[in-house]
């Protein structure tokens, strides 16, 4: 079967920093060298791999570097990788939003992208007007849209509001309408980026089903970017892993996910105390109550299912704060959130004060496996509204290695299909 898309030496270079007066002289120099003297662009020879956590020496970075692979017709390709690995850049190049710096992509058939559904919706126009508009933006002709109009409206489930301006829609309705249009585009190649992160569960199921129909039924090719390893395993036939802009692994979807998890697990750290630095913070936080270190109180990161897990937070007050809490999220190595823990809003701290707070997670009932923790400080609940003071990601890794220290439960092996929680039970 012929390949649907071929990526050949695709690279994308970005210049860091801001546009300033220096930029113009720089641009002129570059233009002079390439256009007047007819030489190769010297800046395409420099640059560093894209590692956001470390400060590099060059102003140029490669968001993508020498990507080579082929996608066969009818494949559903899952693209996985950490944030900043270059997944979105790759899809942007493929959907012609931006041009690559070097290399060439050759594709057979129409490419439609779902980089963000509902693109180009005009808030003042009605649902039906926006269907025509959005369809046209994605490259459909008017008769084509007319033919599928009923189907689109039906699929979106917003029939009642179809004559209402889109600005009155809830965000879920907007997404549903957007996906409905895109799903009916019938392109030979569909590019999807994380759309499934929005929309309610029922719709997600419908959307995933539609995507499977698209690829299985008619031999269409789908490229799917997601952080949801489960979705990649279920939906995709092939998988590739991107790391710092380079293609490091290509195989079938299940082994790609396994490889990704294995790679992540190989970075499993036995540190029981983590000193927080800026690389743990993805966003700029108020830091009213700053997390300085987090550690496991028992100075080991091996626990059993019945063991309580105690985490000690060393906190610094940058502002007098009372009625706050510490807490966090436990995730598994497929980046799936498993559960959340937090204390009551009863802590207080003075400006300049440094204090230790230990929070104990009782009865977590986590099954055998490896997990990591994102921690934070904040106050409030879902009624009063939550304010986060600090969120630090990927801080502590731990492993549940047995069910019970004292008496082994009757399992020889824990299967991953059983999930992550061992409910506590008793006969009545």
């Amino acid at each position: 079967m012929p390949s649907a898309i071929e990526f050949e030496n695709i690279s994308k270079q970005y210049r860091l920093g801001i546009v300033s007066t220096q930029t113009i002289s720089h641009d002129l120099k570059r233009w002079w060298i390439t256009n007047i003297r007819g030489k190769e662009d010297p800046y395409l020879k420099i640059g560093e791999v894209n590692d956001r956590a470390h400060k590099g020496n060059s102003d140029y970075i490669w968001a993508l570097k020498d990507i080579n692979f082929k996608v066969e017709q009818g494949d559903v390709l899952g693209i996985i990788g950490k944030n900043g690995a270059g997944k979105s850049t790759l899809l942007k190049i493929l959907s012609k939003v931006t041009a690559p710096s070097t290399g060439e992509i050759r594709a057979r058939g129409r490419i439609a992208s779902l980089l963000e559904v509902g693109t180009g919706f005009h808030p003042e126009m009605t649902g039906i007007e926006n269907i025509y508009m959005n369809g046209a933006i994605m490259g459909m002709t008017k008769p084509e849209i007319k033919r599928k109009l009923d189907e689109i409206i039906d699929f979106s489930g917003v029939e009642r509001y179809i004559e209402t301006p889109v600005k009155r829609y809830s965000s879920g309705m907007t997404v549903r309408l957007g996906f409905a249009i895109a799903a009916h585009l019938e392109p030979e190649i569909l590019v999807v980026d994380e759309v499934l992160a929005v929309g309610d569960a029922e719709f997600q199921k419908k959307a995933i089903g539609k995507m499977q129909d698209v690829s299985r039924g008619d031999g269409r090719t789908v490229l799917f970017v997601s952080h949801n390893m489960g979705a990649v395993k279920n939906l995709c036939s092939k998988g590739i892993i991107l790391e710092n802009g380079c293609l490091v692994y290509a195989s079938d979807a299940v082994s790609a996910v396994d490889e990704y998890v294995r790679k992540k697990e190989s970075l499993f750290s036995n540190d029981t105390e983590i000193v927080i630095s800026s690389r743990h913070r993805e966003r700029i936080m108020s830091l009213d109550v700053e997390v300085l270190t987090v550690k496991f109180e028992k100075e080991s990161n091996n626990f059993s299912t019945k063991d309580p897990i105690s985490i000690t937070f060393k906190l610094k007050g940058n502002k007098d704060t009372d009625h706050f809490h510490v807490g966090g999220i436990v995730l598994d190595f497929e980046d799936r959130p498993i559960g959340i823990f937090f204390g009551e809003d009863i802590l207080c701290i003075k400006k300049g004060e440094i204090k230790d707070v230990t929070l104990m997670i009782n009865n977590h009932n986590l099954s055998v496996g490896k997990y990591y923790v994102n921690a934070g400080t904040g106050k409030g609940n879902h009624i009063t509204g939550v304010a986060d003071f600090d969120i630090v990601n990927n801080v502590l890794d731990f492993e549940i290695d047995e069910f019970d220290k004292d008496q082994q439960l009757g399992f020889a092996k824990w299967y991953s299909a059983w999930g992550n929680i061992l409910f506590s039970t008793s006969y009545k």
Binding site: P2, Y14, V19, T23, I24, D27, K92, I93, L94, S95, K96, V97, T98, A99, P100, S101, T102, G103, E104, I105, R106, A107, R108, G109, R110, I111, S113, L115, E116, T119, G120, H122, E124, M125, E129, Y132, M133, A136, I137, M138, G139, M140, T141, K142
Partner: protein, 278 residues
Amino acid sequence: MDYTTVIKPKNKLLEVDFKEIWRYRDLFSMFVKRNIITQYKQTILGPAWFVIQPVLQTIMFMIVFGGIAGISTDGLPQALFYMLGIVSWNYFSDCLNKTSSTFTDNQAIFGKVYFPRLIVPLSTVASNLVRMGIQFVLFIAVYLYFVFTGSHIAPNIYILLIPLLVLMLAGLSLGFGIIISSMTTKYRDLTILFTFIVQLWQYATPVMYPLSIIPDRYRWIVALNPITSIVETFKYGTMGTGVFSWAQLTYSFVFMVILLAVGVVVFNKVQRSFMDTV
């Protein structure tokens, strides 16, 4: 099946895909429709604003330039003289202002999905045409009023040039607009500069004065402005007064063709990577 899409780093200078633009003609007509209907949504007077604007502006001009400053209107009724200038100039400047921010205004959508970017400025120019048409009908109404009340105005054969004149205004504004928008993606200074230039430009165009009051010695300076001959031909064709010359009109036409060619090439080059610099 052969490759239908090939994505490469840079395209050649003159590689403009007109076929692709034609394929997206449905999008073009939808953009035009959207521009028109969304402009006055949730306003009470709605499209009446198309008419109110030039009327108020004409009255203002009659007071300031005709009354206080006492500038001649070549013996034409002031209302007609100013209104025609305003309708044609406003079409040009509206188109220019809107098209010159094509990239910055449409960042969000351009960053998500690909379609030939040229569709956007093209649709702006086309949708403004509707507005100009309505304003021109208003002009005709006022014109007929003056004819029936016995003013000495008479159209001549050059009135047939009007479609060409409108086309030239559209072409010039589109040409300037896409060049400006291409240049401003990276250096925003130019946005400020150009807004300023367009304001001054009106004074270098015979909108509030007739070309004939400029001394012959300096007339060539005003005539360098490609809009001058268009506005003058408008007046000459409809009212029989004004400075008309084939040479000047040809100059404006050639100017437009070159400008458009340069504009399309520049725009086409910028559209491929502007998301990285905008």
